[in-house]
């Protein structure tokens, strides 16, 4: 007798043989399905999209397509030999990023084009501004928190900037921004009421004004102000600004990149793709991947997507398990310090 959930329903010999045969097909199929599903979970892929025909759609997960001057590109038009930049924010390391885009019917078809990728934080990709030598202590109010300070109030954690407090949506976002749990200052109701509540700070968010970055290689400090990163000229200046630990970054994040040439899709004349190997970016810190795309002709893109994939390997398997464990720890014990080694 095999596995039978309805033993009381007795079949004749011929039907029983048929049942056993079909049962022997269903269960292995279910096991194969479970294995495939485990593969999807253990070697995940993440897709980000932007639809230039509805640029304000909330479904657009690619962050701010823009030109070299930082002006948003909402119509998908990119001039010949000019760059379009955009970002994607995600946690974890991946093996490759595949950029796909579809050109509009009126667009020229490019003969060539390329895509380049870098990894760090969006704010650290900002252009460099004027160095700051001293901190103007007079402009500082003793009753308020410095911009960039992390505060806790009720069950929430907020980042202070420009008279606003931005609620951080979850511990994963907090960690992915490079923040330190030990830097969170409890705020009283009076202190909290001095600020307006800003929009939710999710993984797509940029570090706000007042954030200080410290470069791991040379100890240089930068402060974010008005879309620029300003070098702080001395460690003393940095200490005057800092109320939190700085966000650690690597200069390699600006230097190391990966590049690919666009290829026309065989099945569609207006679809192109480009595959970027990004294993060389795995050792870098930062949740943001910045893409730079350019073409040999003027083009108009209708839709753009980026898919991050992990290849099947023991190393990736271990990494995914570790990332899952970290997410579980962050969920159940948000303040617990996790070794990154």
């Amino acid at each position: 007798m095999g596995f039978d959930l309805t033993k009381e329903a007795v079949l004749d010999a011929k039907s029983r043989r048929t049942y056993r045969f079909l049962q022997a097909a269903i269960y292995p199929a279910a096991i194969l399905g479970a294995v495939y599903f485990s593969y999807l979970i253990l070697f995940p892929s993440r897709t980000f999209e932007f639809d230039f025909t509805s640029p304000n759609s909330s479904a657009n997960s690619i962050i701010s397509p823009r030109n070299e001057l930082g002006i948003p590109i909402t119509n998908g038009k990119i001039e010949k030999n000019k760059n379009m930049f955009f970002d994607a924010a995600l946690v974890g390391n991946f093996s490759k990023a595949i950029v796909n885009f579809t050109l509009s019917n009126k667009s020229d078809l490019p003969e060539s084009g390329s895509v380049e990728i870098r990894r760090s934080y969006q704010a650290f990709f900002y252009p460099e501004g004027e160095p700051i030598e001293f901190k103007d202590k007079l402009s500082e109010s003793p009753d308020t928190f410095n911009d960039g300070t992390l505060i806790s109030y009720n069950n929430g954690i907020y980042v202070v900037s420009g008279g606003f407090v931005f609620p951080i949506d979850n511990p994963v976002t907090f960690e992915s921004m490079g923040y330190n749990w030990n830097n969170v200052i409890p705020a009283s109701a009076d202190e909290f009421s001095m600020y307006q509540k800003g929009k939710l700070f999710n993984i797509k968010a940029v570090h706000p004004d007042g954030t200080i970055f410290s470069v791991a290689e040379d100890g240089q400090y930068y402060i974010i102000k008005g879309g620029l990163k300003h070098p702080l000229l001395s460690a003393n200046t940095a200490l005057a600004w800092m109320k939190n630990d700085p966000i650690m970054v690597s200069k390699k994040g600006l230097e190391i990149s990966s590049r690919c040439e666009i290829k026309k899709n065989i099945f569609s004349a207006r679809q192109y793709s480009c595959e970027l190997p990004i294993e060389n970016l795995a050792s870098l810190t930062g949740k943001d991947y910045e893409f730079r795309q350019n073409f040999s002709q003027n083009v108009a893109i209708d839709s753009l997507s980026v898919t991050f994939k992990k290849v099947v390997s023991v190393a990736n398997f271990k990494t995914t398990l570790r990332e899952m464990l970290i997410r579980i720890i962050l969920r159940y014990a948000p303040g617990y310090q996790i070794s990154t080694q």
């Binding site: 039978d4 009381e8 039907s15 048929t18």
Partner: protein
């Protein structure tokens, strides 16, 4: 299998239909197992399953399956005498309690004080309905 269904067949030769009926039970078993693992995974790491498949789709598949079983049962006038498998029921109850505790995570303490007694009452009523009124062994 949560329910051990004992059949009293009104027809002797059901052939293909009965085979389908039995296969539908196997499929239901697989779907329920998949749903339990999916919901446990979601509880532990939200989004881990729903990023790939919406949980409602599994529920729809289970509902269709149950509907199909019921249709076959009615069509061939199969009467089912239901009895509860207490081991399976206890295991499911344990899973439900785990999920319930997990759902209280990060919830306001005052809200917890309301939800816990309310849930206890619902569970008690369910226990009365399922275990006592059914006259199960």
């Amino acid at each position: 299998m949560p329910l051990d269904i004992k059949f009293q067949l009104n027809k002797l030769a059901l052939g293909k239909e009965l085979t389908i009926y039995k296969l539908l039970h196997d499929l239901l078993f697989i779907l329920i197992l998949f749903f339990i693992f999916a919901i446990l995974g979601e509880g532990l790491l939200p989004g881990i399953v729903s990023a790939h498949i919406s949980l409602y789709k599994i529920l729809v598949a289970i509902s269709i399956n149950i509907l199909a079983i019921q249709t076959v049962r009615m069509r061939f006038k199969l009467s089912a005498e239901k009895s509860l498998n207490k081991k399976t029921a206890s295991l499911l109850l344990f899973v439900i309690i785990l999920l319930f505790i997990n759902s209280l995570l990060n919830l306001n303490t005052f809200l917890k004080l309301i939800i816990i007694p309310a849930t206890a009452c619902i569970f008690y009523l369910l226990y009365k309905i399922v275990f006592l009124d059914s006259g199960a062994d």
